[in-house]
Amino acid sequence: MKKTQPYLIFLVEDNKTYLKTLKNYLNAHLKFNVSIKTFLNGEDCIKSLNLFPEIIILDYFLNEKTKDSKNGIEILKTIKNNNPEISVIILSVQDNMKVATDTMKYGAFDYVSKNENAFIRIQNAINNIYKYGLWLH
């Protein structure tokens, strides 16, 4: 049985243009009821985990501009420690096998490189999580 309230998705990305584009893209293309909340850093995302998001799209390089910020792997670990059932999709500018392997090791659902296919790949990953009921806690 699918839940009736909106499916809650967090987007965590420090590039405001990329963040807005991803939010608008998902709102325009996802075919089920979603509520999307955006964050410019991982720390604010962590503070909102009490809202019980089903999915978090998390940029790997969150501390490129603000060195005090934690990077994506550190935030991923904190999310998974807090609630291992949240599906986390990691985004990265580079197609980096080491980063991909590390993210999977720490429990990410998928790793998406920020190329021209990134948006459709994120959409497909979210659809798979929704379709197979991986949001059920």
């Binding site: 590039n15 243009t17 608008n24 325009a28 293309h29 501009k65 060195k67 920020k114």
Partner: protein, 125 residues
């Protein structure tokens, strides 16, 4: 004037076709993203200028890295190699004079992109 006035002219630095495809041609969604980009770019150029003045290689690398994502969305492919070189030089912590030279190109091209996007945006009204 061409048959399609909204199409980006040859020689422009922006190609908004990718963004338009992503948003399914929905103008209000494209316009929202343009607004964010138009606000973000001057802030980032200022950050790079400040970092160059302070010879802060880590900050140069960080801002150049972040800018790559947004310029790719706006189809400003001419900026990608410039930003990549700035990021690499920032990462190596060398060649501030070369970074300054790249930054001059970056500023010129970003200003051109901003003007082009403002023109495209004005066609939505």
């Amino acid at each position: 004037m061409t048959t399609n006035e909204s199409k980006i002219d040859k020689g422009n630095v922006c190609d908004l076709n990718y963004l338009s495809e992503l948003m399914g041609g929905k103008k209000h969604l494209i316009e929202e993203i343009m607004d964010v980009f138009l606000k973000q770019v001057p802030e980032e150029l200022q950050s790079i200028n400040d970092a160059i003045e302070k010879i802060n290689y880590a900050a140069i690398k960080g801002v150049a890295h972040t800018m790559k994502s947004s310029v790719s969305i706006m189809g400003i492919s001419v900026l990608t190699p410039i930003l990549q070189e700035m990021e690499d030089l920032g990462s190596n912590g060398t060649s501030i004079e070369k970074i300054k030279e790249l930054n001059r190109k970056l500023i010129l091209l970003c200003n051109q992109a901003i003007e082009e996007i403002k023109i495209e945006k004005s066609k939505f009204i």
